[in-house]
Amino acid sequence: MKNIVKQRLLVNCGRLLVLVVILGGTELGIRYGVLSRLFFSSPSEIFVAFEAQWAKGSFLPDLGITVFETLLGLAAGSLAGMAVGLLLPQLRLVSHVIEPFLMVLNGIPVIVIAPLFILWLGLGLASKVGISIYIVFFAMFIPVYTSSLRLDRTLVDALRVMGATRAQIFWKVVVPSSMPSVYTGLKIGSGLALIGAVIGEFVASRAGLGHMILYASGTLDTPSLYLGIIAIAIFAALLSLTVDALGPLLVPYRFSDEK
């Protein structure tokens, strides 16, 4: 017990040290001219950039827009991927017909298809949400679809012997047994949702963190560029923590530690 506590303390101290070295290093490196101001920014410069963006009144809206696009893309894309992944195996013929089309669509890199979404949905939020939905859909659809194809036949047979209807089998076996895959889909999808939103903003946009980063890069405003990257990194980390926390809700039996 004591050893574990000790070790945990050591690990946390180590992490703190790494952070201090990075922040202190860049701060001192910039101040004494060891690091180029064009390529690197010190924490204090980034903070100044943050104050400037804040004063302009653009930081919060930029952050809010990207967060909104990401969350909406994640939610809608996941729901759609889940629904299609669960229903398609129930319709054997339809699934045989459209499976190759889905696989080809999935193979197209998102950056290639992004301009099309801009064309369809315009420069605003809708195109970014659309791109995000598009990649999240596949991140969710593929694991859910594969798992519903590999359903445990014994469980289905057992329920049929008990007189279960198709609907009962769907809700009592098919849906719950896909939950581990839904969780996997959410984990992959949460990262992709953000990528989709930012790629959309990179291709064409008037606002959002991606827009801010692209603008900063174009104007050689290195501190704002770092500010954008850090903001996205913090949001991505929080999103991933939130999705991890959903695990015990979606698949409680995998997280119950009694063996």
Binding site: V161, G163, E258
Partner: protein, 259 residues
């Protein structure tokens, strides 16, 4: 009670038709345990799936109380070789699954499941997930899942194959007692001659594919022995063992082995 009348069954494969069962007839009376034994791959399990309505015979009929089986029959329960416990449900939710499928209200069905679990030594495990139980307890929970709907006919498809030798005897003994106490009919498919002799009142030996009834033996051990564990020590057991072994016609070391 349960009767297989002139059953034939063939699979139609891609190239040819495989005849699995040929004009097979035998019955299982009320309060009787019949073991069906046969060489590997002879279609023993197929036979049970015909009784459960999961498959339909090519010719002939399966009758319960003189009425032909058509789809899932509420008078019939089946214990499978693999686990049929849904891993995302607690043990008590698994035990009540059959009642739930029949649309019984939550209060009464929960009470019934809890009572069954108390009666058969699973008290205290109601809220656990199946994976927290030992193999023997999982099998017992699956048995209660089957018993909860109070079937008059119990079908067992090599249910104890995965259990260790000692646990197997304990569960075999439980099953025999439960079956006798409820005056149920039971058909157990097995490849284990000892299991057949110690549990059953009659042993039906099937031939190789296409399977027909080769021999039927009336055996006294199950009723006369104190428990399943005592049966092999009774006089005559070894003799029957040898006769059934010979009837199975499995050559050891020969080139014409059934495998």
């Amino acid at each position: 009670m349960l009767e297989f009348r002139n059953i034939s069954f063939s699979f139609t494969g891609r190239r040819d038709t495989i005849e699995v069962l040929r004009e097979l007839s035998f019955g299982c009376r009320e309060n009787e345990i019949v073991a069906v034994i046969g060489p590997s791959g002879c279609g023993k399990s197929t036979l049970l799936s015909l009784a459960t309505g999961l498959r339909k015979p090519t010719a002939g009929q399966v009758l319960i109380d003189g009425r032909p089986v058509d789809g899932a029959d509420p008078r019939l329960g089946m214990l499978f070789q693999q686990s049929t416990l849904l891993p995302w449900r607690s043990v008590v939710e698994n035990v009540e699954l059959g009642l739930e499928i029949r649309g019984e209200r939550k209060g009464p069905r929960r009470q019934r499941a809890i009572a069954l679990m108390r009666q058969y030594g699973l008290a205290g495990f109601e809220r656990k997930y199946p994976h927290a139980l030992s193999g023997g307890m999982q099998k017992r929970a699956a048995l209660l899942q089957t018993l909860a709907i109070e079937p008059k006919v119990l079908l067992l498809d090599e249910p104890f194959a995965a259990l260790d030798a000692q646990t197997r005897v304990v569960i075999q003994n439980d099953v025999v007692k439960i079956c006798r106490a409820g005056k149920r009919s039971m058909v157990i498919v097995t490849h284990d001659i000892s299991e057949a002799l110690s549990m059953a009142d009659r042993v039906v030996v099937l031939s190789r594919r296409p399977a027909t009834v080769k021999e039927i033996y009336d055996v006294p051990f199950s009723r006369e022995a104190e428990s399943v564990a005592d049966a092999p020590a009774m006089p005559g057991f070894a003799d029957y063992y040898k006769r059934i072994w010979n009837a199975l016609d499995i050559s050891i070391g020969g080139m014409n082995a059934a495998a």
